[in-house]
Symmetry: D2
Subunit: 479 residues, 4 copies
Amino acid sequence: MESNDKFQDECGVFGVYGSNDAAALTALGLHALQHRGQEAAGIVSYDGEKFYSHRELGLVGEIFDEKQIIDTLPGNSAIGHVRYSTSGGTALRNVQPLYADYSFGGLALAHNGNLTNANQLHKELVNKGSLFQSTSDTEVFQHLIATSSEDRLLDRFIDTFKAVEGAYSLVALSRRKLIGARDPFGVRPLALGSLGETWIITSETCALDIIGADFVRDVEPGEIIIVDEDGLHSYKPFLAVHKRSCIFEYIYFARPDSFVDGRNVYEVRKAIGAELADESLINADMVIPIPDSGVPAAIGFAQRSKLPFELGLIRNHYVGRTFIEPTDEIRHLGVKLKHNANKQRLEGQKIILVDDSIVRGTTSRKIVEMVRQAGAREVHMRISSPPTINPCFYGIDTPDRDQLLAAQFDVEGIRKQIQADTLSFISIDGLYRAMGETNRDNDLPQFCDACFTGEYPIPLSDQEKGQSNTQMSFLAGLK
Amino acid sequence: MESNDKFQDECGVFGVYGSNDAAALTALGLHALQHRGQEAAGIVSYDGEKFYSHRELGLVGEIFDEKQIIDTLPGNSAIGHVRYSTSGGTALRNVQPLYADYSFGGLALAHNGNLTNANQLHKELVNKGSLFQSTSDTEVFQHLIATSSEDRLLDRFIDTFKAVEGAYSLVALSRRKLIGARDPFGVRPLALGSLGETWIITSETCALDIIGADFVRDVEPGEIIIVDEDGLHSYKPFLAVHKRSCIFEYIYFARPDSFVDGRNVYEVRKAIGAELADESLINADMVIPIPDSGVPAAIGFAQRSKLPFELGLIRNHYVGRTFIEPTDEIRHLGVKLKHNANKQRLEGQKIILVDDSIVRGTTSRKIVEMVRQAGAREVHMRISSPPTINPCFYGIDTPDRDQLLAAQFDVEGIRKQIQADTLSFISIDGLYRAMGETNRDNDLPQFCDACFTGEYPIPLSDQEKGQSNTQMSFLAGLK
Amino acid sequence: MESNDKFQDECGVFGVYGSNDAAALTALGLHALQHRGQEAAGIVSYDGEKFYSHRELGLVGEIFDEKQIIDTLPGNSAIGHVRYSTSGGTALRNVQPLYADYSFGGLALAHNGNLTNANQLHKELVNKGSLFQSTSDTEVFQHLIATSSEDRLLDRFIDTFKAVEGAYSLVALSRRKLIGARDPFGVRPLALGSLGETWIITSETCALDIIGADFVRDVEPGEIIIVDEDGLHSYKPFLAVHKRSCIFEYIYFARPDSFVDGRNVYEVRKAIGAELADESLINADMVIPIPDSGVPAAIGFAQRSKLPFELGLIRNHYVGRTFIEPTDEIRHLGVKLKHNANKQRLEGQKIILVDDSIVRGTTSRKIVEMVRQAGAREVHMRISSPPTINPCFYGIDTPDRDQLLAAQFDVEGIRKQIQADTLSFISIDGLYRAMGETNRDNDLPQFCDACFTGEYPIPLSDQEKGQSNTQMSFLAGLK
Amino acid sequence: MESNDKFQDECGVFGVYGSNDAAALTALGLHALQHRGQEAAGIVSYDGEKFYSHRELGLVGEIFDEKQIIDTLPGNSAIGHVRYSTSGGTALRNVQPLYADYSFGGLALAHNGNLTNANQLHKELVNKGSLFQSTSDTEVFQHLIATSSEDRLLDRFIDTFKAVEGAYSLVALSRRKLIGARDPFGVRPLALGSLGETWIITSETCALDIIGADFVRDVEPGEIIIVDEDGLHSYKPFLAVHKRSCIFEYIYFARPDSFVDGRNVYEVRKAIGAELADESLINADMVIPIPDSGVPAAIGFAQRSKLPFELGLIRNHYVGRTFIEPTDEIRHLGVKLKHNANKQRLEGQKIILVDDSIVRGTTSRKIVEMVRQAGAREVHMRISSPPTINPCFYGIDTPDRDQLLAAQFDVEGIRKQIQADTLSFISIDGLYRAMGETNRDNDLPQFCDACFTGEYPIPLSDQEKGQSNTQMSFLAGLK
């Protein structure tokens, strides 16, 4: 009934070099990255002779919960991946890391992001005789590496990165090396950690904490890191470009306890809440978060406004993605699968609801209605992101433009749709202030904020050539 | 690694009479009661001719997520059950509701609670020729009903309730009646609701909210409610006893948005937090809940003490019950599967941690250590229940006495075990004050608080006769 | 498409006392009895302390193919069962052996046969307070044993056998005894074997051969055998009745290499073929069996008639029970899932087809047509049983009377239906001669041949009282 | 315990062009070819827009038994494959037909046979940048087709066939064409059939019979057949070579009702039996086949020798591939999972046992011993093939040379191993006579008989270059 009315991160990656427990550490790391993708998970390890692969649909804690499974992944290096599926089904063949044998030996690859010229590259590769198993970006990486005329693995990667456009933070594992790389704009996060002699590359720092590893530094935009028996090597084959990491990671995707490019996510969210209070405080009895994503901003809002912070909505964490297809009668009941209003607390009150974003608006409208039925006298909605007007093409699953409420209506129009008494979004500059900037540098923005502003830093080649919907395969069901 | 170091509620029940969507409503109700049992769920419906049963291991939202499943449960009355397994495995035959054919027709039964003379009754029934499929309490109910010499179903139930001792809140479904009953002390909760012409009986009121039903009243201790085509009937076959409902439902088991016997759970928890602040405030920089169960009390504590409420610990909701069996090396890392400290927030701070209880103490110790490693300067633990010294025999899964930390040590001893700088539990009278009482009436206590005081209101016959460990079956694996 | 147009045996039983490999021997024995039931199989063992049970839907070789499974069934006594389901689905709760705890300890039970007063007994037991899990005969045995007022297990069994009517060959396992029993008429087979110090009870002797055990003797009609640490005991609590074992076991059910009540099945089938040749030889080029069941009679027919025996029909052993639901176009193709005509061999020939029985006639008609399309000039059908006019109520799955072709038509009518050039069935006396008798003793027939003659030796109480279709349970799907 | 001590055919293929029921016909055809591979099956169909694929481990009748599955395979052309796995496990990715997208569109491919230079080609292709998913021959075909510089599909196939060495009978499906091709020596069978306007290509003619289709002709060695909307086209791009189809298809692999290259398999087997009687008749009481494969030759032997044909061994068709791992005690019992001696028939008799081949000899020895224990006085083994001395590299699964009993011992030595009283194999010339030839033409043998003679018609390049055991992948478990 209630779909997850949010932008969705698509993936998380994790890699380990130099530990007898490489696969176990990877499983733990992926568990900490589970919020970045819940559809499937996989690990590939290497033991000096062979690569070992285990990939499955499901949660990390279900797939890798037994010693026997971990024992099928020997070796002291490993990489792993969690995946969020953008469409209905996920075929197992698309679950990363993807492995292939090359002339130089085996290589496993896992990435977080999205290529914006994948279709074009796919077509060129097929014309040269490459056979694809899927239409995934990752396989484009594989074929580019395979058909590169370079000898050294590093040079094959550089060749490949020169051909691709888009956002990618990837980890790869060859017979002798763990590779980590981040696209030149650094759109998706990637961090470097260590645990004694062991090197770790991960999408977020919370995956370092779970295993007690130390955060070393963020991987830089455009940087290729190679770890081998001689230690860590860093390569920067691209001309320096202006960094444009995704600002939405701070608003919603990343875990509050992670540090992304030097900023603590929880503190940023609280700061946004405080800015929001400065911008749009209204007379009210209390501040209520829409759990769980609205909680840090609501705390920030409450502290700044000196209004009490209260749990007026209770979230049921057991909700799966779907539930019974109801009859019309049931549909009219307005079933509350995910959130319930805490009546006693709300009755007769003027409340400020804090959420992180409004996407389609269906959930917001439902919650406003629920809160009113519980007796709230006034309902003021405050949103800790600017209006989301544009889809993302850099690895985030967003609805098409015509389904984004903010692309159809102005703030007053949105307010009417969700039937709140008042509605405010954080301003773009307020958001940048919460990030610690004076304001947005409109000439050279400090972050990728295309979903708010429409300014896409990386070309959208497939889109522009109308190739994003080209038929990529004649096999039904191939994704 | 981290087991759930809590007392565990064992079951939730739900029943519907008079709706074309009886099974769908029951599925939704059970989903709202999911926190009362996550191992298995079942529904039995009746369509005027036949009973239909679907029971499975797993979460409600996984078992009953498809219209096809709901369509196998036709009829306008239904009962359902969610179950928490007390031991490793749950055989499907133990998943409730249990159904049987009797001389008077079919009857399905589901209960929440525990009989304290079940073993004795089991033995007597087997001696008279009854064949048991399990050693569950519910089957004792079934055989007592079957062998009662009474004609009327109501009288068979009364016969049965006169034979059993213990705590039970049950729902049952016969060909013409929906039955709800609560033991004479009213230990476990049971509430009555309505949705138009439809009657609903449920363990908690949050299961009324999910389907938009109205709360009518609590089922009274010792009351038998029968709903049939003539409407609602109430019977009270027992001499009035003093009500002793479980005080721990308010502390931890029930959902914060539920009303139990007239009190809102969230408000009680906040009140306990406030009392706790009154009793044991200390100089500190902030109040931090151990999520999720410590949140309401922490809010109450923070509001009373005027200290800021902060998320210093982040919970990973994707944790399953188990995870990979780690190597020794990994075990030494102190893996943080469920909670992670939010470093930036804690560094150099004096913090008050609020949790609902300390059972074995393993989790508390781990969290104190985690918080210190994150840089906290002082760690003060505040617990929103008195020390839990005694096991429960009334339907709650508790460790044996010798595993309860508070049964081994006094408060200072516990503090040393968990290595906090200071530790305070709410006092018994503080707890009763938070419940709205002046204090505990030691002659006639208002609640069952045996886990704190050792005063068990209902006899523990099997325990006393040493029969609780008698071999109940010669079949290996029968539970 | 082609269902199995045969009478179907419903079960096989096997028991072992006194071997360290009791469960493994039972699995092997059940594998040899697989032709008696392919839907499900189960084993219960006892190790001196506990009973262990493993039951599953599927073939023995699939269920018990791993050492780990056998290892869950420790002990030196065991019983097992294979089951053929009479209707669409088999619920696991009906898979035998059934186990229960009684006042005297545990008892597991498995039987082959059918009670003709089960419904009446079921009703009486429910009225006295017994709760049934199924409507199976075996559970009637269980409740009668449980509610017997006798002390000794043997006396409880005698009590039980005095109450039941019908055909049964059963094995049971208590804490100290292996029990085998055969109904007073000895309808279904049961044999006793030994392997060193180990005693074995089995439906057929082929299950002795598979483990290299010796055949000792048949269990006698009305005999109860008890094996315990003092050795073998035999009890005959019933007045002697005239033995009436099932003659169809020789025609079709039993495996050709088994000895049933002293006769080798293969030799009987060949003898029937020879008698059939004497009774109905016709000028032809060759004798062709309908494989596999028609082969032994066809060999006997060919040897007696001196016509060549040829494989004119090839059977595909990979056929499952069902296959794709075809379109009309495909249905018109006359798909040959199970048998194919061997064209080269049949073209222009006059052939005698030998089969064991004609039930609905659908397969016979299809095969005659197939053989003609392959070019056969004349098709003469010879059947090694008399016409099957009556259903069986003693443990064989037969269609209702109105679906038995021979109940609707005389021989000439059947011939027209199946479109053979000529058709002959063995005569009743010819059949008895093949069994080594002079003829059928019409006053006191030597075998149960009710399916041919309508003379049922055991009363059909439920049938006569119209109770066979009484609703036994209000639970949909309970069988 | 008893493994299948036989040479094993590895695959069967089937293709349909021009039927609304293409997938259903393919499922039925594969069912008729099930004896050629029981591990897995797959179908790919094309509906004018998309290709549809369904592949699974298991039997055809289990995989494609539901209309819903067939309905996922729309279109009026389809190809299918059944697979026998040469090693322990079969990964789904190896189950054919294999599909890929090429520059010219989609193409699905299924083949029966084995390439003898696959490893060499694999290595060359990887060096040029091709990424392999498996080490299967079929994928070599795919990459050769993909990297061919030709434009037309036919020319890409011709290119491919010029590169490969070995035995192959394949079917392929493109957007406009059904392709069938047989290697220049015609080692594995391939036949052409029609059903009205529908064309069919199949490994064996029994798959035409099952759907009532007509046999048109065999596909010729070296012939490429293309069926498209203009009808049937035949291409013969190779210089004529001398046909050398596999003689073992007649002895064991093909179904008795099939015609292979013009000969009826059942009649050939009977003729071998007759020749064998001419060559090695001995005084005996009866002829007994080792079922099922020995039956036709035993019938031929019995007819020629005028000895009675008897079922002295009963086969249990329910045997799976494996069974319980027995204890030593059980192993000593000489468990008879697959065959049992029919004691009554054998006791005191002089018998001639007829089987098709002796591979490792384990089964033969076991059966001779079993027959003796059943009381046979003399046991004379007659084999309807010459001694199998050499492994096959053309698509048949054979043990290594050192496991072939006939490669270690002469006939007298084999006799001692299996402990028969006498032993004879058919002579090479006797075998050729049974095939209708005067004798073997040693200069230009009429068939491939390398397993008997060691004369391999097609080069064994990988073998000779020692490349057959080269590591083809660094991924553990990749096959």
